[in-house]
């Protein structure tokens, strides 16, 4: 009988204790979960930042190389055009056109006036 009453009281105490502690435990668990989530999130952010940074570097690398290639192509084109201009300005060619197509002749000595 005595044992039974003690058991009943203990049970009541346990229930009472449980009812009092449960919210606190839940609160602690929620806090732990939140803490874990924040920590995990932070780690994830760092990892994602690291990956993003790498992706950006590679993307910019491609972009830099693309622009460098474009610049080299434009420089090459400029040089080709300069070469073409130099070819077209060849005095032999100019004289052939002047004499052959335009019918020009060299000025005589008296026809040249030097300006000073």
């Amino acid at each position: 009988m005595r044992d039974q009453s003690i058991a009943a009281w203990t049970s009541v105490g346990r229930d009472r204790a449980n009812s009092l502690l449960k919210p606190r435990i839940d609160q602690i668990r929620r806090f732990d979960l939140l803490q874990s989530l924040v920590l995990g999130g932070a780690v994830l952010v760092v990892v994602l930042f690291y990956v993003w940074q790498h992706v950006q570097v590679v993307r910019l690398g491609y972009e830099v190389e693309y622009l460098a290639a474009e610049r080299a192509a434009l420089t090459q084109q400029q040089k080709e055009l300069r070469l073409e201009v130099a070819r077209l300005m060849s005095l032999r060619r100019v004289e052939e056109i002047a004499r052959g197509q335009l019918g020009l002749t060299s000025p005589k000595s008296g026809q040249v006036i030097v300006l000073e």
């Binding site: 590679v58 690398g61 491609y62 830099v64 190389e65 460098a68 080299a72 192509a73 090459q76 040089k79 080709e80 300069r82 070469l83 130099a86 070819r87 300005m89 060849s90 005095l91 032999r92 004289e95 060299s106 000025p107 000595s109 040249v112 006036i113 030097v114 300006l115 000073e116």
Partner: protein, 595 residues
């Protein structure tokens, strides 16, 4: 009851099975844990093995896949004339090459390359099977072709970007510029002389690339562009000289010809031409004779043009005066058992007339007055027998013997320009000394060398080698040489509106078959300067073996005239008989702004 009994028995079963289940669960958890731990251990072990034990080997493999050593494109510097006009330019072109031993399927590779490069597949296959360790499939390929080959990703096939030399003016100044070989190294002319400056410094850099061989990052490399050459050559005068020389050689049916135009005070070469000539863009198609810079590397007997040197020595030593008279001996003189004749019979001539009419007898008598030793000193003094040290490769010092090796005839022969061989450049340098008041100057063709960053790395300035004759002697001789053009053998060299001084020369060539002077083969030349009072141009024209118009005065002198006249017009020199046209101040300013 039955229900209770069942329920009781059920309760008993539950109490019995719970520990069993817990045990089973624990075993399963333990097994799972062990499995995971074992898997983790295996992975960690493998990771450790890859990261630690096989690190260097795998790092090398990875590097080989993602990194590649590529050469930087080295471009040769540009060559400009004195007014900044391009005479030689380099452009980047690609070469497609193969290492046949690494090509896995030559048939498939040649078919793919054929489509990409527009070349016959059989030709490519033939090259791949030539048994060589390295072959070029196509040189001077376009950037698009090189890219197409890269995209094919064929093992053993690659492309290499290189500089290719272009000479936009084709034959113009070909002998001066020279040319470069397929490896972009200078082989002749200025390309060879200044190869170390012109050639870019090729570097190998690391390039990171993706699976499609597209570059991601490239290592920074220094500028691989070579330095630029700025020449003393004037493109217009060069063109005039080449045009007139070609006309003279064609007109006279000559073997070849050379002409040089020089500033007699500074030694700057304004033009240097040889005919026949060649196109340095396709130099391999030209003969060695056409490619030879005969104005600098070949020598000839100057003949009567050399009388200016014996005259200079005799005047400087005060052994003759312009008005001194010489007996023409009726046009012939015997020296050392040999009779030397004049081209016409002269009775008495002054020293000035000896020069003007190019009398051999008179010149020999002047030489005899000067004597062996003095004459040799003047010959050496004017630079004959030595290099002028022009900045061009292969220069000849000419041929001259020392007085102790001279025969009884030598002094007489040398007085009329025989028994000595000189280069056209040496003869012009000597005439320039007479033109500029007696100073022998070093000729040069490169004004400056400018690096890609704009820094001047080399600058040539006028250099006086030595004073050969006094200013008075030079002035007197210039007046005498003016007489050659006004009343002597060089009348055809006269330029309207300008005073010209110079000397003709027609020398017989030695016949190699007989070892004696040939009756038919001659070298006709004229060397002089203009205007006499303030010389601006010194010019030499040498025509080798003309078959018609065989005299210096009939073929070289008119060529001199044409070169001088057109060049003076280009240099905006006002003829002496004409006042310069002065523009009103406002108009002049406007005109300069327009320029």
């Amino acid at each position: 009851m039955q229900r209770r009994a069942r329920g009781k028995s059920s309760d008993t079963g539950a109490t019995r099975s719970a520990p069993v289940k817990r045990g089973l669960l624990r075993r399963r958890v333990t097994m799972l844990f062990c499995s995971l731990a074992a898997a983790l251990a295996i992975i960690s072990g493998q990771l450790f093995s890859l990261q630690v034990f096989r690190y260097s080997e795998l790092a090398r493999v990875a590097d080989g896949q993602t990194s590649r050593r590529v050469p930087t494109v080295s471009r040769r510097g540009t060559i400009y004339d004195r007014n900044g006009r391009e005479l030689a330019i380099s452009l980047a072109t690609s070469s497609i090459f193969a290492r046949p031993s690494q090509v896995e399927n030559p048939e498939r590779a040649s078919a793919a390359l054929s489509a990409a490069l527009s070349l016959p597949a059989e030709k490519i296959l033939e090259r791949l099977r030539a048994g060589k360790s390295f072959v070029y499939i196509k040189r001077s390929a376009s950037a698009e072709e090189a890219e197409a080959v890269e995209r094919l990703m064929l093992k053993g096939i690659g492309s290499d970007e290189q500089g290719k030399r272009f000479y936009p003016k084709a034959q113009q100044a070909a002998h001066l510029l020279g040319f470069v070989g397929t490896d972009d190294r200078g082989l002749e002319g200025l390309e060879l002389q200044y190869d170390a400056y012109l050639a870019g410094k090729r570097q190998w850099i690391m390039r990171q690339q993706d699976a499609k061989r597209r570059p991601i990052f490239k290592e920074e490399a220094d500028e691989a562009q070579g330095s630029d050459l700025h020449l003393t050559i004037d493109e217009v005068i060069q063109y005039i000289t080449e045009r007139e020389l070609e006309a003279a050689v064609r007109q006279s049916g000559a073997l070849s010809g050379s002409a040089i135009v020089m500033d007699p005070f500074s030694g700057e070469i304004l033009a240097l031409a040889n005919y026949p000539t060649f196109d340095p863009n396709i130099y391999a198609e030209a003969s060695a004779f056409a490619r030879r810079n005969r104005a600098v590397v070949d020598y000839y007997e100057p003949g009567s043009a050399f009388k200016a040197i014996v005259g200079a020595g005799a005047l400087e030593e005060r052994l003759v005066r312009p008005e001194d008279r010489f007996n023409g001996e009726g046009g012939a003189i015997e020296v050392g058992g040999v009779t030397i004749r004049d081209h016409e019979r002269f009775e008495t001539l002054t020293f000035a007339e000896v020069m003007a009419h190019s009398s051999n007898v008179g010149a020999i008598k002047v030489g005899q007055r000067l004597g062996k030793s003095h004459y040799y000193d003047y010959i050496s003094g004017f630079g004959f027998g030595n290099l002028t040290k022009i900045d061009l490769p292969g220069e000849t010092p000419g041929l001259i013997r020392r007085p102790k090796e001279w025969s009884a005839l030598s002094l007489a022969s040398l007085s009329i320009g025989q028994e000595i061989s000189v280069s056209p450049l040496q003869m012009l340098t000597a005439m320039s000394a007479i033109a500029n008041g007696g100073n022998l100057v070093r000729p040069y063709v490169t004004k400056s060398i400018v690096a890609a960053d704009g820094q001047v790395v080399l600058e040539n300035a006028p250099m006086q080698v030595r004073r050969v004759i006094s200013e008075d002697t030079a002035r007197t001789l210039a007046t005498i040489l003016k007489g050659v053009v006004t009343e002597g053998t060089g009348k055809a060299a006269a330029v309207e509106g300008f005073d010209v001084a110079g000397k003709t020369g027609t020398s017989q060539k030695v016949d190699r078959a007989t070892g004696r002077y040939s009756r038919h083969k001659v070298v006709a030349s004229f060397v002089g300067f203009v205007p006499v009072e303030q010389p601006r141009l010194a010019i030499i024209v040498v025509i080798d073996e003309p078959s018609t118009l065989r005299w210096g005065g009939s073929i070289a002198a008119p060529t001199f005239r044409e070169i001088a006249r057109e060049s003076l017009k280009h240099l905006r020199k006002t003829p002496v008989d004409r006042e310069p046209f002065r523009l009103a101040e406002g108009i002049r300013n406007a005109a300069f702004r327009l320029n």
